[in-house]
């Protein structure tokens, strides 16, 4: 089976995130998804982009209390993924263009995928 697709993952520092995302947008990449993974006391956030089946990930690793800037000023549609990431993991994401303030995913338990379970209470969006 030959799949004509390339996947690359690049680690990115918090302070470089917006610059890297702007660069990808300027190169004509579309935003595919933003997903979060609990990596044992910290979160790994994958920002996935695609252009002609070239799949690129920017990987940001942050602690539960770290504020992450929204990329919705660059990719307008990012608000769905960022609100989801906030509501499920409790990650404070600042400056989302449409900020649901914790009501996008109406879970019975607050921040159900959170590492600390209480980490999200410190979230400014909540």
């Amino acid at each position: 089976m030959t799949v004509k697709e390339e996947q690359t993952t690049i680690s990115v520092a918090l302070e470089d995130l917006l610059r890297e995302v702007k660069g990808l947008q300027a190169d004509g990449y579309r935003l595919v998804q933003i997903g979060c993974t609990d990596v044992g006391g910290a979160y790994e956030i994958n920002y996935s982009f695609d252009k002609n089946y070239q799949f690129k990930n920017l990987r940001l690793t942050v602690g539960p209390d770290i504020e992450v800037p929204s990329i919705s000023g660059i990719y307008w549609a990012a608000f769905v993924y960022e609100n989801e990431t906030h509501d499920l993991f409790g990650i404070p994401i600042t400056g989302i263009n449409i900020d649901f303030k914790g009501t996008f995913i109406k879970s019975g338990e607050k921040y159900p995928f959170s590492v600390t379970r209480s980490g999200g209470d410190r979230c400014r969006n909540a």
């Binding site: 089976m1 030959t2 799949v3 004509k4 697709e5 996947q7 579309r30 935003l31 595919v32 998804q33 997903g35 979060c36 993974t37 609990d38 994958n46 996935s48 089946y53 799949f55 990930n57 990719y75 307008w76 549609a77 608000f79 769905v80 993924y81 989801e84 509501d87 449409i98 649901f100 009501t103 996008f104 995913i105 109406k106 879970s107 159900p112 995928f113």
Partner: protein, 359 residues
């Protein structure tokens, strides 16, 4: 200046059996802004991956959605196979393609019926679902299940389709295509349908791409992007070209799905013609250790199964990005400018699947 009012749409609405809520900001009858809201029935299925063995989770993946269940199973299985370096036998790849295209057929025919119902065209709704029944019958004959097939597994497939049945399916394709073309002719050429859909909910190609739209929603705006082009399963062998329309309105999105029905019939025909003999699966040894973003083209667009294994029998993470979630921003952009009475048709034009969205 007209007074602005907010009219709630959903979470329970006649055109959508699944819960999504839209706050529609209106000036008289004109929609000027929209705020979407989901998350009423979020099931947290992604977390179940940590409690089910990686070979068992395929059953959970299939149950994310009752319409494109087989393709969720393919997406998940392909991801694990890539991490573990498993080479799926050729016959299994072809069978996955045949069942995937049957799923696309029944999904598109289901949507065409719902769309016709949304327009108030009840006869067209009934005819679409009548044709869908024959696809479901084929799925039941070949897999044992109309909705949840249960035939895809890590390493291959669980069931074969015998040559006699494949020949029967092949013979049935010509009359079925003729019936589908008669149906499609109404959707594409009927004056009432055209009057109702043309120029409604327009999104340009650049806007669709920038919003990260996917599937027929993107292709209706001229974005020629379909993950089957990468050649997963047997698509690389049987050949594939995306169906694209350029107008970006509800009619264009409908036309893409109508023409994809014809294309799926052709894909099944070619897969049956070329399917090789051979084993159905490979033995799965060891446990997955690594990560992969597995991408598959579902009826509503590209689905992503991000899978991560740490060498144990449970995956440590499954993150599933479904096409409807990616298409919600498109919906927010396409509704302003529509009349209130057109909102159900515009909403349906992205073929929303909330079951997928609330995985």
């Amino acid at each position: 200046m007209p007074k602005r009012i907010v009219v709630p749409f959903g979470p329970q609405h006649p055109v959508l059996p699944e819960p999504i809520h839209l706050d529609l900001v209106l000036e008289d009858e004109l929609v000027v802004d929209v705020v979407p809201s989901i998350g009423y029935i979020h099931r947290g299925l992604e977390q179940l991956v940590q409690k089910r063995e990686f070979t068992e989770y395929v059953y959970v993946a299939e149950r994310i959605c009752g319409i494109c269940s087989f393709m969720h199973a393919v997406g998940y299985s392909q991801g694990v196979e890539h991490i573990m370096g498993l080479e799926v036998p050729d016959r299994a790849r072809y069978l996955r393609t045949i069942w995937s295209e049957c799923s696309r057929l029944h999904s598109h025919l289901l949507w065409l019926g719902l769309f016709a119902d949304g327009m108030g065209f009840e006869n067209l709704f009934m005819r679409s679902w009548q044709l869908r029944e024959s696809v479901l019958d084929t799925l039941e004959d070949t897999t044992g299940g109309r909705v949840i097939q249960g035939t895809c597994k890590v390493g291959g497939v669980r069931r074969d389709i015998g040559q006699e049945k494949l020949d029967e399916m092949h013979r049935a394709l010509d009359p079925f295509e003729e019936q589908c073309r008669d149906l499609g002719d109404v959707f594409l050429n009927d004056d009432t349908v055209k009057y109702r859909l043309k120029g409604l909910g327009v999104i340009s190609k650049d806007e669709a791409y920038a919003l990260g739209a996917t599937g027929p929603t993107a292709r209706g705006s001229g974005v020629a992007m379909d993950h089957r082009e990468t050649g997963y399963a047997a698509y690389g062998d049987i050949g594939f070209k995306p169906v694209v329309e350029t107008a970006g309105d509800c009619y264009a999105r409908c036309a893409v799905r109508v023409k994809e029905v014809y294309a799926s019939i052709d894909q099944i025909r070619r897969a049956i013609d070329q399917i090789p003999e051979g084993p159905l699966d490979v033995k799965v040894k060891g446990t997955p250790n690594g990560e992969y973003f597995s991408r598959v083209e579902q009826p509503r667009g590209e689905v992503i199964h991000y899978l991560r294994g740490d060498g144990t029998k449970h995956l440590s993470r499954a993150r599933i990005r479904t096409p409807t979630l990616a298409n919600i921003p498109m919906l927010v952009k396409m509704l302003p400018g529509a009349q209130l009475a057109d909102v159900p048709v515009v909403v349906l034009s992205i073929d929303p699947c909330i079951s997928c969205t609330e995985r």
